[in-house]
């Protein structure tokens, strides 16, 4: 088992920058990817999407992909599964209920078991932040993080980026990206930032392409420290003011299951932060409205907006399959074309 800190190090220099200690095809955090990696993933997504379906099944024909889901999921699970199948891979789904996880089997043992059963790549959804790192250390396999606790959801950030690029660049969506690709673009992320892994992956990715990210939400759901998570991030608690500056708006679900004890007045919340028709018309009539789902219609977003002309929500889901095909091809692909770009940690 590869140890992350096995090399002799000099004391008194607390530091973490080291070579990526995981499988080069893994994506545990969006920060694992250099912009070159992002470019090749976007390119591969377009190629795979446009490829003849029969030929496409040869890409990962009979390769074995496990989906290990400790939390429920509709979009992510289905699109990863469809992506794997469209590339010809065999998939097997293990979910926390109805597996030995219920009997107390550890994540490590579950990973080792899946590997022994022939899994070549594991897609993990887990309720605990950092769980993909445990699985990676235990198995050494390529791990794709499909959402871990409050930490990250990197494939969502990539599909959100593809959605944004499609709207901003049109046909050239798959062209390589650079640190100026989103220069002058302001993206507002609104809602329960604190509990959102989607927010974290997006706020770490988009500024690297030159975007300015505004976070909007009440104190209880958006601590001030969020602005220091990385460069290019600022907090604008006045949602209307944030909207005025934004070309892109990403709405987040109010995670009712996580609100215990927060004492949030939902009527007050809707008044200040709901994406509704009047607000959008007044402050951001041309902005693209996104939402990673699941939505709570009538709470953070109204049906008029979710189903309206500004909405890219269904489109996001569609991009999910293409991006996840690219991630799977990268994870299992011809022994690491991706490995060449040995993903250093940011």
């Amino acid at each position: 088992m590869p140890k992350s800190q096995a090399k002799p190090r000099k004391v008194s220099t607390p530091s973490t920058s080291q070579v990526f200690p995981h499988h080069p095809g893994s994506v545990l955090s969006i920060a694992d990817l250099e912009l070159d990696d992002v470019s090749s993933i976007l390119k591969a997504a377009s190629q795979l999407e446009n490829e003849d379906p029969l030929k496409r099944t040869k890409q990962l024909f009979k390769r074995r992909v496990s989906l290990l889901f400790y939390e429920s999921s509709t979009r992510t699970r289905t699109s990863f599964e469809l992506a794997a199948k469209q590339l010809g891979a065999d998939t097997v789904l293990v979910s926390a209920l109805s597996s030995s996880i219920e009997k107390g089997e550890s994540l490590k043992d579950t990973g080792i078991t899946l590997r022994a059963l022939g899994a070549e790549c594991i897609i993990l959804r887990h309720s605990s932040s950092g769980a993909p790192y445990v699985l990676s250390r235990a198995t050494g396999l390529p791990i794709l993080n499909a959402g871990d606790g409050m930490h990250e959801h990197p494939s969502q950030a990539l599909l959100d980026l593809r959605t944004i690029l499609t709207h901003l660049r049109g046909a050239k969506a798959a062209a390589p990206v650079s640190d100026t690709t989103l220069k002058g673009v302001t993206v507002t992320i609104c809602g329960d930032i604190f509990h959102s892994r989607v927010a974290r992956s997006n706020m770490l990715l988009l500024p690297r392409l030159g975007a300015h990210v505004l976070l909007s939400g009440p104190q209880a759901l958006l601590p001030d420290t969020a602005a220091s998570a990385g460069p290019g991030i600022a907090i604008e608690r006045d949602f209307d003011r944030a909207l005025k500056q934004s070309q892109i708006v990403i709405m987040l679900r109010i995670q009712a299951e996580r609100l215990a004890g927060l004492n949030l007045d939902l009527d007050e919340y809707k008044l200040r932060y709901q994406a509704n028709a009047e607000r959008m018309a007044a402050h951001a009539p041309d902005a693209l409205v996104m939402h990673p789902g699941p939505m709570i219609r009538g709470l953070e977003i109204t049906s008029e907006v979710a189903d309206g002309p500004q909405s890219a929500i269904a489109e996001q889901v569609r991009h999910g399959v293409a991006v996840r095909m690219a991630l799977l091809a990268r994870a299992l692909g011809p022994a690491s074309k991706s490995g060449a770009s040995k993903g250093k940690r940011k």
Partner: protein
Amino acid sequence: MKPILIRGGRVVDPSSGIDADRDVLLKDGRVSAIDAPGKLNAAARQDAAEIFDAKGLIVAPGLVDIHVHLREPGQGYKETIASGTAAAAAGGFTAVCAMPNTIPVNDSPDITRWMQSPERGAQIRVFPIAAATRGSMGEALTEYGALKAAGAVGVTDDGKPILGDSIMRQTLVAAARAGLPVIQHAEDTRLTGGCSMNAGALAFRLGLRGMPVEAESGLVERDIRLLAELKDSRAHLHVAHLSTAKALDAVRKARRNGLHVTCEVAPHHFVLNEEAVAEYDTHAKMNPPLRAEADRQAMLEGIIEGAVDSIATDHAPHAAHEKEQEFERSPNGITGLETALGLTMAVLHGKHKLPLSRIIALLSTQPAAVLNLKGRGSLAVGSFADVVIFDPKKHWIFQASASKSKSKNTPFDGWSMLGSVTATISEGRIAYRA
């Protein structure tokens, strides 16, 4: 037990102000004589003493760790008193103070005596620290007088801080009357529910709930306020594993005001900062958590200027399967007995040029004084023959797999250390030899 003459070494004994070449004669479990090189040869011959050649080595009072978890009774799969003290001896320690969060909790004279029984197979001296309240439940005080008579050297509910003002006040009063220090794990647990690392931007980015600095400093400030209100000069508050600049400032201020407040800092809190958590390494998970770089620097400054009394490891062994879990599920704590001297030497002596006498004071003389361990932390004639002999110039690589502890949960596996232990002598008996 044969007498031992330690010959040709450089004696560093802050308790008697010696830092010079001296020979040391150990006899009947005590330091029998200490004199200029060669002067004790005749006496040694007369006693048929074993000769220990310490040329080029430091001879110092055995190290004293006032904060360890030996896991016995109850959790022998993590550590036993025998294995923990073997690790301690390998690390140069001749006395360790064992925390009461065992199973059952050490809240009785019986358990206190059980821990010190020869049947436990301790390689060095074990001083139990007893629970301050029954079962460490924070409700009813234990019997401090009887616990002290059984050998307890302090009281604490380590890991379960005493939050209630009234019970903490009672604890301070009763402990002062019994002549025992009150050791507080300063954490306002009302602010740290579900938290697994230091609060701040990194915790946010990692999606982990963070413990604010104020959870520590707030409780230290509260304890100091209670102590000040007592006006009982015998009352002694000792702050365990202090980790924040803010709490250290509170301790400094209390001391300026003449209060009897002491504190300890663990090596990991002056060697590592919260960045070590970045890959969800559970070997970097402990409580108090690794803090921001500014707090790490504050710990170094506090140690160097003398505001910190003691370095203590908070040696907290856990089995591999417990640490190989999701970060939030993994238990807190790391082992520390075999890396304390090597890290302290590398950082404080090697990098920050703290003289050896200060290193020994921080690891031996002062901790012994904090918990009033008579005859420990000193090579003065008549003291216990507790000695560490080490090579202060030797760099070595710590290998967790070679550790004598039952558990290998350390973030320092593969790290370069300075100062390697040649031998540890506990009450005149060689407890460890490299």
